[in-house]
Amino acid sequence: MDSWKTVATKYTPEIYFDANTNILGLKGESYPENITEFSSPLFSWLENYLGNLGKKNFTINIELIYFNSSSSKMLLDLFDLLEEEVNDNNKNIVVNWIYDAENDAAQEYGEEFQEDLEVLTFNLVRKTG
C-alpha cells in the first residue's frame, strides 16, 4: 500500500496516509454541502485497507477544528466501522482525537465520541502552545 495525500479545500480537511507508519490523518475543517461525496472515497479505501491490515498497528489521527452536523455523522460511521474491526477481527487500531487547548467544542465532541465506544482505543490528545 502506497502513501497518499488529498489536499484540504476551503471546507474539507486534508487527508493523508503514511504507508511507513500506517497512520491515516484528517486535518482541518469539514463542512461540505454533500458529505457522501467527501466520505465515499475515504470509506472505500478504508474498507480495502482494513481487509489487508492483518495484525499490523493502524493509527488514525483526527485533528478537526470545526465540522458540521453531517460530518459528525460521518465520524460516527467511521468509529462504528473501526469498532467492528476491533471487536470482530481483533484489529489493532488506535484513534487519536487531537484538539487545540483553546478549542472547547472540539474537546467536547471528542469526549462524546469516546463515551460511546467500547473496544476501540480512542485517545484525547490536547495540544498546547
Binding site: Y11, Y31, N34, T36, S69, S72, M74, L76, D116
Partner: protein
C-alpha cells in the same frame, strides 16, 4: 431617486438591529464559505473570544446549509444549484444571533413545528442524549437531519421560529438562534 433613499433606510435599519453581515439572494456553498471567512475575521478584529467565534460560525454554517438544502426557491445549473434565502448575523441586547429564512412548501410546516417544539422543551442533557440517539439512527444523507438538534444544543436561549404564509402553496420559514 426614491429607490436610492430607500437603500440608505435599509442600512439604518440594519444598524439598528446590530447586523454584522447580512445576505439576501441565491446562495451557494462557495458563497457560504466566503461569508463565513469574512464573519470570522470581523469578529477577530473585535477581539471576540475564539470559542464564541467558533460557536457563531457553527450556527451560521448549519443554518445557511439548511437554506442551501431545503429552500423551496431553487435554480439548478451545471454546478448543482443555487438556493434563495436570507442570512442575518447580528449583535443585539448583549448577545449574538443568527437569523435565517427561506421559502418552504406548506406541507413542511407541520413536521418542522413538531420537530422544533419537541427540541424547545428539552434541557441540555436531554438534547445531548437525543443528539446521540438520532446520530446513530439516521443514515448519512446530505443533511443527516441533525442540524436542528445541534443548533438547539448550542443556542444559549431556546430557538425561535415562525412561518409566514406567502400563498396557498408556500410559506416563509424563519429560524433564530442565540449565542
Amino acid at each position: 431617486m426614491k429607490n436610492i433613499n430607500n437603500l440608505f433606510n435599509l442600512k439604518e435599519k440594519c444598524n439598528k438591529q446590530g447586523i454584522l453581515i447580512t445576505f439576501y439572494g441565491f446562495i451557494s456553498q462557495e458563497l457560504l464559505v466566503e461569508i463565513g471567512y469574512t464573519l470570522k475575521s470581523r469578529m477577530q478584529t473585535e477581539n471576540v473570544p475564539s470559542t464564541k467565534i467558533t460557536k457563531i460560525f457553527a450556527m451560521f454554517v448549519e443554518q445557511t446549509q439548511n437554506i442551501v438544502h431545503y429552500s423551496a426557491e431553487k435554480i439548478f445549473n451545471t454546478n448543482g444549484g443555487l438556493s434563495n434565502g436570507i442570512v442575518v448575523i447580528g449583535y443585539q441586547d448583549g448577545h449574538y444571533y443568527v437569523l435565517c429564512g427561506n421559502k418552504i412548501d406548506k406541507n413542511s410546516i407541520e413536521p418542522l413545528t413538531q420537530k422544533l417544539t419537541f427540541l424547545h422543551d428539552m434541557d441540555k442533557d436531554e438534547l445531548k442524549s437525543y443528539y446521540k440517539e438520532q446520530r446513530k439512527k439516521e443514515s448519512l444523507t446530505k443533511g443527516a437531519g441533525l442540524g436542528f438538534i445541534e443548533l438547539a444544543r448550542k443556542s444559549s436561549k431556546p430557538i425561535d421560529f415562525n412561518f409566514q404564509p406567502i400563498d396557498e402553496h408556500f410559506s416563509f420559514f424563519s429560524l433564530k438562534t442565540y449565542i
